[in-house]
Each structure stands twice: as structure tokens, then as C-alpha cells.
């Protein structure tokens, strides 16, 4: 495999509705930003690009099949190769990784990953129905028909087993919304308190409206290149920013579509097949997990995402990450629900199973220098969702994973101030970050590690 670099990106303004443009033109907003960042014009970039990967989740939202090819011609990429990827909420993450494969394999030197969703074309309750059709239509949809309900059940079990509280979940919402206050691309730039989150209308107990991301219209583009691609862009007069941002490793995992079908494996199986090297090497952690299992905890159950742990472990191994809490400088993870951010802390090894709630309220996942209005016992260690995440930025499904890639690339380039017009969210001296994209109730999960080359 060849080295692959994330060299440029763009994000359209995420909004509840974008009736001012068709989806192709919204994608072009992000595309033009990505091209402009390379210092190239449309025609010159068209000459250096080898092809693309298109990312969108639901044909229902746009009532348009083959939407990818409609973007392809709008972006001037005909007759170059392209294909569409789809994998629920992880669609954008899958797109990023498929673009990586195109470059790493030698098939392309410059690959455009573009994604979008236009969810405003239907009312929210109909949108919920389209999303719920990504659960088993024989067994899950006819009973629940509502993803927020599925996630609420997951976290009720997490609360029962580990003592996780709604206030700990609310701390995630406060953090991500306040971060987004400084992100001009975000849909919701509000400052909330724990009380605001808990007093918001209940959607699916214990999740309130402020525990859940919103539907959005939006698009994002990430351009990936090989060393040959970099040279070609520079020969064409383009500017590739240094330090370069390399894709240091990718990982992907899957799990049963029906969350009720997730197995409950024993302690020995967990340690053998799923535990991180760090967990295995700590007698204290081994003892902690043994005690959990002795008290009836099973893995992954409905409170953990085995696909996330598999994806994380795979990406960490490939990128040489042993202790993610120390070896990463930030994480942009899929926080469609505050509860799933907490569950993902555990799956990505930022804390142990069962300790996601206290970790959320500890301050370790917050950014320094921002007044969150919270009494946080610990200093920031590893900012999670410095951009504001899905909860505050919005979740135009096919764009989200690519948005994470763009924001992460800007963090590692040190260009947050340039792109956001404000340096508040810049993670100081960021060298390595993880992006995490998640589908269904944990059916497809991707983790990709981006690293600054010094």
C-alpha cells in the first residue's frame, strides 16, 4: 500500500434546509472550497483529479436514484471513474476509506470523496421513518420504528449496569454545543446548560431533544492524494499545505443488524478477541473487568458497540497507537446521541467499559480555554468533538464522516483559525487525530487515523 495524504477539503454550511440550491450545487460549495484551498481553479483541478467516490445514505430523502452520477457531472469529473458507497450513518466514513483504498492501491493518485444528504425534503417524522427503514423491516421497524428509541434502550441498560446518569449525558451535549459556538459551519451554535438539556422535550426516555443530533442538509468533500498526486497538483500550480496530513491507518467493524441479536460473550472471549493490548497489560483493568463479568456484564450486549471496538483496534494497530488517550490529540466521533458518545469513549479505549459516564463529566474530553459553565474536576486530556460533533454541527448523513475528516485535517494543518475565522477550537500542536463513523445501532463502524507529518 502507498502512503495516502488528506490534502484538502471543504464543507458546505450545514442547515436545517437548503432550498436555495439543489444537492449538486450544495456539494459544489464544499468542492469549490476544497479546490480553492489547493489554489487551483475548476478546470485545472479537473485535469489532475483521477476519479471520485460518492457518499449518500438514503435514496428516499432526495427521491432520486443515481444521485451520485448527477453530482459527478456537476463537478466536472466525467468520464472519470466513480462509485457510490452506502452504509447508514457510517456512509461518509466508508467513503473516506474507499477513497483511501483507491489511492493506496495505486488505482488513483488524486481521488475526490464527496458526500451529501438533503433531509429537509420531508418532514422530521417522515425522515425518522426513512432512517428507521435502516433497521430490519421484518422485526425491528414494525415494533419500534424509531432509532432514538433503539438508542434509548441501549443507554437504559448502560445506566442500569454502570450507574451512568442523564446528567453525564447532558455534559456531552453542553460540551459539543459550546464547541460548535466557535464553528461557523455548524448548524446549532448555542450555549446550553445541563438543566437546558434535561428540561428539553423528552424524545425517548431518557434522551431529550438536546441529547440527539438533528437532520440537516449539507455536503462535505475531502481530497486524498498519493505522493505522485501531490507532485501532479504542484506541477499544475497548486499549493499543497505543509505539514502534510497522512492517513496513518484505517479500521472497520460490523455487527448484527438487529441489536437484539448481539451476542453476550464471556470474560475469556472478550479478553482474547476484543481487549486492547493496553487493557491486557494492566492487572488493575483485568481485575476490574473480571469483577464486571462476575456481576453479570456481558459483551457487547446492547450497551457496547463491538464494531466500534473492532474498528478502533484495527486502526490503532495499523497506526501504531497503544494508548489512545495519550497517543491521540483529539477525536471526532459519531455522536448522533450523547449516549452513543459515552458508549464510544469505552469502545475506543478512552476509558474502561462502564466508566464512560464519569469520563464524560470529568473534563478530560473538553477543550482548554472554553468556559463550559460546568464544574469539571479534571483538566482536558483528549478533546472529543472539538468541532461540535453531529449533535451541534448537524447530521446530513452522507456528508458527516467526510466533515469529520475535513475538520480533523484542518486541526492537523493548524488552519482552524484560517477556516473558522477563530482559533478557539484549534487543538494546540495537534499531531494525531481519530475520526469515527457509525451506522445503525452499531452495524458498520469506521475508524481512521490522521497524522501530521513533521
Amino acid at each position: 500500500m502507498r502512503s495516502v495524504y488528506a490534502i484538502s477539503g471543504g464543507v458546505s454550511k450545514f442547515a436545517k434546509a437548503r432550498p436555495d440550491k439543489t444537492f449538486q450545487a450544495v456539494i459544489k460549495e464544499a468542492y469549490d472550497e476544497a479546490i480553492s484551498d489547493l489554489g487551483l481553479d475548476f478546470r485545472t483541478f479537473t485535469g489532475v483529479a483521477d476519479g471520485s467516490v460518492a457518499s449518500y445514505f438514503s435514496d428516499h430523502f432526495s427521491r432520486q436514484l443515481m444521485a451520485g452520477i448527477m453530482a459527478q457531472d456537476y463537478l466536472g469529473l466525467l468520464p472519470k471513474p466513480s462509485h457510490r458507497v452506502e452504509g447508514g450513518g457510517a456512509t461518509g466514513g466508508l467513503c473516506f476509506q474507499e477513497a483511501w483504498k483507491s489511492v493506496a492501491s495505486g488505482d488513483m493518485d488524486v481521488c475526490v470523496a464527496y458526500g451529501f444528504e438533503t433531509m429537509s425534503h420531508v418532514e422530521t417524522w417522515k425522515g425518522n421513518e426513512f432512517i428507521a427503514l435502516a433497521s430490519d423491516v421484518s422485526w425491528d421497524y414494525p415494533v419500534g420504528g424509531f432509532y432514538s428509541g433503539y438508542y434509548a434502550m441501549m443507554v437504559s441498560r448502560h445506566m442500569k449496569e454502570f450507574g451512568t446518569t442523564p446528567e453525564q449525558m447532558a455534559a456531552v451535549s453542553v460540551k459539543n454545543h459550546r464547541n460548535a459556538y466557535f464553528n461557523p459551519y455548524a448548524q446549532k451554535r448555542n450555549r446550553y446548560t445541563i438543566e437546558d438539556v434535561r428540561n428539553a422535550p423528552m424524545v425517548a426516555w431518557p434522551l431529550t431533544r438536546l441529547d440527539i443530533c438533528v437532520m440537516s442538509d449539507g455536503a462535505a468533500v475531502t481530497i486524498l492524494a498519493s505522493e505522485e498526486g501531490l507532485a501532479r497538483i504542484e506541477q499544475a500550480g497548486g499549493r499543497v499545505r505543509r505539514p502534510l496530513v497522512k492517513v496513518a491507518g484505517i479500521g472497520r467493524g460490523t455487527d448484527a443488524m438487529r441489536m437484539s441479536d448481539r451476542p453476550h460473550v464471556g470474560y475469556d472471549t472478550f479478553m482474547r478477541e476484543y481487549a486492547t493490548e493496553q487493557e491486557k497489560s494492566s492487572d488493575e483493568t483485568l481485575s476490574y473487568y473480571k469483577e464486571l463479568w462476575d456481576h453479570g456484564t456481558r459483551y457487547p450486549g446492547v450497551h457496547s458497540f463491538r464494531a466500534g471496538r473492532s474498528a478502533g483496534n484495527m486502526a490503532y494497530k495499523r497506526a501504531g497507537i497503544v494508548n489512545p488517550l495519550e497517543d491521540l490529540d483529539f477525536v471526532e466521533l459519531h455522536d448522533a446521541y450523547t449516549s452513543s458518545e459515552i458508549q464510544t469513549y469505552e469502545d475506543l479505549g478512552l476509558c474502561r467499559y462502564g466508566e464512560g459516564g464519569p469520563f464524560a463529566a470529568s473534563g478530560k474530553a473538553f477543550l482548554p480555554g472554553i468556559d463550559y459553565g460546568l464544574d469539571l474536576p479534571d483538566d482536558p486530556v483528549l478533546p472529543v468533538n472539538p468541532s461540535g460533533g453531529l449533535i451541534a454541527c448537524g447530521h446530513p448523513v452522507g456528508a458527516t464522516g467526510l466533515m469529520q475528516a475535513v475538520f480533523s485535517m484542518w486541526q492537523l494543518q493548524g488552519t482552524i483559525n484560517e477556516h473558522f475565522g477563530d482559533a478557539t477550537l484549534q487543538v494546540q500542536d495537534a499531531r494525531r487525530g481519530a475520526i469515527h463513523s457509525h451506522a445503525g445501532t452499531g452495524t458498520y463502524v469506521t475508524v481512521s487515523i490522521l497524522e501530521r507529518e513533521d
Binding site: F146, A152, S156, A256, S260, D261, H264
Partner: protein, 145 residues
């Protein structure tokens, strides 16, 4: 110029087949709750599955109607997708059965949605069946035992 927006309707009737899962619906129609078991390992799925995901073997049907069951996880939905809005608030639960390795997603009835709490988890429950089957998984629902 302000964008011009129009309405476009879209309506479809699907002919959905339950395929190899069909006996489950026949069972529910006859007030029986069936589960799928791998004959070799005994691994049992609460929701029908024609072949075991570990061995690839064809599963066999087992009747779990009268087995001890309890709530594993629960929520109350105050909002929902369009089809279910008229039913809000409704209670969703994942049920764990004694001797069954996976869970069963269902509606929980006979409880007060406004009194939801973690105390509902581990509560013993039992299945009830619709008098007139609709050939849907909601033909069975659960109530406190």
C-alpha cells in the same frame, strides 16, 4: 429569485415475504412464541433466524412461550417515525428469556409510561397475543407477569 418549491407524492405497496421466518408468524397467530435453535450447539435466538451465524447450520424451532422472561432494557418513545406517531407514547423493551442467548424487541403494555424508571429493568414479564393476528411482530407484546 426565491427558490420555487413544489410537492411530489410517493406511495408504494410492497409485497413483503417473511420467507423462512414465516412459521414464527403462524406460531404467533396460534398464541405460541417460537425461537430458533442451532441443533448442534443449542445456541438459541429469540428472533427467528433460519441459519445459525456461528455454525451455518439450519436452525430448528423451539417453543419459548412459557419460559421465564424479564425486561433487559426499556424506553418510552414520545416521538417517532410518521407511521407510529399516533401510538406515542409507547414503551419499547428488549426481553431476555431464560435459556435463550439473544434478546427480543417488543412493546411493553400494562405499565404507566409516565412512571418509567430503571426499576422496570429485570421486571418479570409474560407474552400476550393479539386476538386477531395482523401477521406482524407486534402480534405479541409483553405485560408484567
Amino acid at each position: 429569485m426565491a427558490p420555487i418549491q413544489i410537492e411530489q407524492g410517493y406511495s408504494i405497496t410492497y409485497l413483503h415475504s417473511y420467507g423462512q421466518d414465516s412459521p414464527w408468524f403462524a406460531g404467533a397467530t396460534n398464541k405460541k412464541l417460537l425461537a430458533s435453535r442451532d441443533p448442534e450447539t443449542g445456541y438459541t435466538y429469540a428472533t427467528p433466524r433460519g441459519h445459525d451465524m456461528y455454525t451455518g447450520e439450519e436452525t430448528e424451532w423451539v417453543d419459548i412461550t412459557d419460559r421465564k422472561a424479564s425486561v433487559h432494557a426499556v424506553t418510552v418513545c414520545y416521538f417517532g417515525s410518521e407511521e407510529f406517531l399516533p401510538e406515542t407514547p409507547y414503551v419499547l423493551a428488549l426481553i431476555q428469556y431464560e435459556g435463550v442467548d439473544t434478546l427480543f424487541l417488543t412493546r411493553l403494555m400494562g405499565v404507566d409510561p409516565d412512571a418509567v424508571s430503571l426499576d422496570w429493568i429485570d421486571m418479570e414479564v409474560k407474552p400476550r397475543f393479539l386476538r386477531n393476528s395482523k401477521l406482524k411482530p407486534t402480534d405479541v407484546y409483553f405485560v408484567p407477569a
